[in-house]
Subunit: 508 residues, 2 copies
């Protein structure tokens, strides 16, 4: 039945004249969805935390084999110390091509807490759902023998969206072009990184080491969610980010809360007061100077943002939020400002695991998003100054007994490796216009242009080490639970991304 | 060698005249330490969380066998619904006795988080240490063939202090009296409870059901730490306690902190601000009316407290605390006031497990200690009112979508079952004086009298259901890590407790 439909469509196209390249890609994909997804499930089932050296290697080898299977020349790039996950590199040199585009995605994922995932989903065992788990999605058996895949179905698994979806769609976009006989016009290179989620610690070094190999007119990043309306979107910038771990100290050993409650300082309370002091009730950061270095959006950036449909009403409803932070700013307007977000707080245990104690320490992990103008190291200095102003002795290690004797409050701040600053590419560069035109051709002109994403990627590294232009194509559904439990991707987003990436590959 | 020493001691005593009963008990114990500890290790190795029904039963049967082995008549008491852990009851009726004393201890323990314990200690595998783990104690092989047990050694294991130490010392005190031929004067009953750490939910019902069996002139509780100086101590009261779980809500699903950071309310911050509002920097509770119902210490209670050596300087040093809460009050003075303690806070994950997200909810567990005059249910009402005054819609369940749409801040408060009020027994009752005299006889008059402990036991139940007098003998070292990781007991504290309990058993 499905093949008959395709045949009718094909006939219709032929009657109407030659198929466009995108149509050819779409047709090829629709006939090969099962094979593509079978291979994707194999890739997703390999655990991919960047520090899990054995599995991260397995991912690299599997992706290399995906490239080789498609006749692409490959190479595994590594840092000098060989401590980093391997970059899977591939290249297709097209005779006569005058432009080179490198397609970037990352194959590593955020850590998982399996107990938080829905009981029917294991983080590294991809399954098909008929809809998202939040909408009570049920598992679907993987269709065989050419049976139909509903494009609203979801795949749930760690990195199904972020960012093995990038690897999957980039490779299949290329494959679909070649298999459906579309002539390539640009040199195509592939660059799949394996440590993005821990801060791309060796990326700069690898870019330096392979400067010549990695020269390109454009780095095209495939990552992140499209607009909440479902419309296609290109990001021309990202916020920077850095994580810090902040610890405060109570008694040296845990105490019975009866014998010492009311007397021994409780680190849960100390941490609460410290964190509470950092932001006001509107979410404005109260750290002195935190907004001083912000370079505001330009008029043209504001204009581009204004052309993007507002999502605030939809998102408030969808997320169950009555009053957002930001004192009345729209979601997009808040991207202009650096953020201070609490990732999590750990202080002893709660509920069934709670004991009646005063514990010894509490740790919070924060992430500080950067915007154009702010420097992540300077922002951390401001944070440190704030902690000190709250009456803490601030250390970069645990306190000694002597320090405990003379200081009422002690904190430790540790910068998690891999912080970086924001990056933006102007929307009106010729290469920007080329990309916009290509993606529009795959989306009936339904395309949103975002001057900067709220999210972060270490894109400044490409500018810094290669003087490259960087543009990010958004790939996945916005409700993908990226970074947390029950991550998922909607199939139609994979199919759309393949169309759009293929269009960029043959842009002129 | 050891036996020779004992023989010399024995000879010395005989030269000096007849041994006192306590001396006989001490001598018997010193000759049987190995057997006592072997049996104690067996008891400790049975996991004992009250909700672990299989193992909690095993504990009850083991303790019953300990009593039977010593010729004591036993009975297992249970609530009507049979849902509660069994109370192990035993009795020794002494012809001509005019007083009955019931000795109470509890054999259940706090939950354990094995990953927090020192790598060399498993929570339910008792080991001997040459000193506490905080002082870098090392494991000691269990001495065999009558070899010496250093009385400074520690046993580390869940409930080694709280409160299987009570079970062990009560049974062995009785045993030592009988085996060394001391004539009993009082009827002795044993009452070992198995759900104290979850709030003694069925204790009242069991007391009612067995009113006649449990009539006594004194309930003698064996539980809790002696004075920080190491001196023996009797508590004539306890604070009450109740736990609540408090939850605040963020977005309905976890969000990427880049795409929504600065906009979506973060429950980690909401929780921090809420907890921070509850106490000032001195630790004074800011909840309106929280101290209104307090019945202050009487002049004689204050006098008794003043006779207890201050531990504040020692404890500040030992615990690494520069400035306690309480605005200058001594540790003991703070027992006059109800407390509000944060047991723990849970909000997503930190450090290596952190993700750059805004999570969906945060929960804190609090414990509210009660003093004479305060009622735990009323104090919870005051807490609820405070939460509402901070702008929260307060529920006893998760919010609906409709409630989320119209309320900027939502919290849930759940009272953990088993709260209870404070209890105090006057120091100058005849039965109090009898106990004081008996314990003094075992401690060279080195005895401290504490009008109330800072800790809690549901002693008001004995008053309420049986109209009984209740006095608590402190048993274990103060640095026992009760309720938390690396719990331990010092051997000399077990030996001292056996002496003191035996003296009470034969008091007149």
């Amino acid at each position: 039945m499905k093949h008959l439909l395709i045949a009718i469509l094909l006939f219709t196209y032929q009657m109407a004249g030659a198929q466009t390249s995108v149509e050819k890609v779409r047709q090829y994909r629709s006939l090969h969805e099962g094979d593509m997804l079978k291979e994707y499930f194999e890739l997703l089932s390999i655990p991919n935390h960047a520090l899990d050296k054995v599995n991260i290697d397995k991912n690299a080898f599997f992706i290399e084999s995906m490239l080789k299977k498609r006749g692409i020349q490959t190479k595994l790039l590594q840092s000098n110390t060989k401590e980093s996950p391997k970059v899977v590199y591939g290249e297709v040199i097209v005779p006569g091509a005058t432009q080179t585009i490198i397609f970037y995605a990352h194959y590593d994922g955020q850590p998982v807490s399996p107990e938080k995932w829905h009981p029917s989903i294991k983080p590294y065992e991809p399954i098909l759902l008929d809809k998202s788990i939040e909408k009570s999605g049920k598992a679907i058996a993987f269709p065989t023998n050419g049976k139909h895949f509903d494009s609203e179905w979801r795949i749930s698994c760690r990195s199904s969206s972020d960012d093995k979806a990038g690897v999957m769609t980039i490779i299949n976009a290329y494959d679909a072009l070649v298999k459906s006989g579309v002539k390539l016009k640009n040199n195509i290179k592939f660059f799949f990184e394996g440590e993005e989620e821990i801060g791309s610690l060796h990326l700069g070094e690898i870019l330096d080491k392979h400067k010549d190999l990695l020269k390109a007119d454009l780095w095209l990043i495939g990552d992140g969610p499209v607009h909440q309306s479902g419309l296609a979107m290109i990001d021309f910038g990202v916020r920077g980010d850095v994580n810090v771990d902040l610890t405060v100290y109570g008694p040296k050993r845990p105490l019975h809360s009866g014998h010492y409650g009311n007397w021994a300082p409780n680190p849960c309370l100390l941490m609460s007061k410290l964190l509470a002091s950092m932001k006001d009730d509107e979410g404005t950061v109260m750290i002195k100077g935190y907004y001083d270095d912000v370079i505001p959006f330009t008029a043209s950036e504001k204009k581009a943002f204004n052309a993007i449909p507002s999502v605030d009403i939809q998102m408030k409803k969808e997320l169950g939020i009555n009053k957002p932070e930001g004192g009345g700013k729209t979601l997009f307007e808040t991207y202009e400002w650096p953020s201070l977000n609490i990732n999590g707080i750990k202080c002893a245990d709660v509920e069934d695991h709670a004991s009646n104690i005063i514990t010894t320490m509490s740790t919070a992990t924060l992430d500080l998003r950067q915007v154009l103008g702010t420097d992540y190291l300077k922002q951390i200095e401001l944070l440190k100054q704030h902690v000190i102003e709250q009456g803490f002795l601030l250390l970069d290690r645990d306190p000694t007994d002597e320090e405990r004797q003379v200081n009422p409050k002690i904190a430790k701040l540790k910068i998690v490796k891999g912080g970086y600053n924001a990056q933006r590419t102007p929307l009106d560069l010729p290469i920007s216009k080329q990309v916009i035109k290509a993606v529009k051709s795959a989306t009936n002109n339904q395309l949103l242009l975002e001057p900067t994403s709220g999210g972060s990627l270490p894109l400044y590294l490409f500018e810094k080490h290669l003087n490259a232009k960087v543009i990010n194509l958004c790939l996945v559904n916005h409700d993908n639970n990226q970074h947390s439990e029950n991550e998922n991707v909607r199939l139609q987003n994979l199919w759309d991304s393949i169309d759009q990436l293929a269009s960029i590959m043959i842009m002129d």
